[in-house]
Symmetry: C2
């Protein structure tokens, strides 16, 4: 499964669509963000994705964790949000 | 139940402790943040709280949503993170 990478410039509605599609196909989606702006967009996207999936009777929850990633040759701490269908 | 209000200056370990205590008492906690920096601290706090609760066999998930709040006389959109014990 591909990780959905979110930046501070990502459009929450577009990311929400990607989350909803991945949930419909795999029942689980993984989202990664680096930095406060990106994490904020990721959380907003999950909230919006709930609205996309609710009419199909799908409710989602997320489990946040940390991950170490390399970005432009630098080691950074990313937030990983595992989204699961209930 | 009191809402745990998180700002961009909140210490994630302190917020994580408050989340863990609330979860132990009520099985559910509600966290509110306004702005990207605050939401980032809130998500980090939940990730840390997972580590505080895991040794007791408690796993938590979060459900993000939006809320309208008044801050300094201005209407702002807050992120509400409902944290639940599984």
């Amino acid at each position: 499964m591909e990780i959905i990478k979110v930046s501070s410039k990502s459009a929450p509605h577009a990311v929400a669509g990607a989350i909803a599609n991945t949930i419909r196909e795999n029942q689980v989606a993984e989202i990664q963000s680096v930095g406060a702006g990106a994490t904020n967009q990721a959380v907003k996207s999950i909230a919006i994705a709930r609205g996309y999936l609710a009419p199909s009777g799908i409710d989602i929850v997320c489990v946040p964790g940390f991950a170490s990633v390399e970005l432009d040759g630098e080691q950074r701490t990313a937030i990983r949000l595992v989204v699961k269908a209930l």
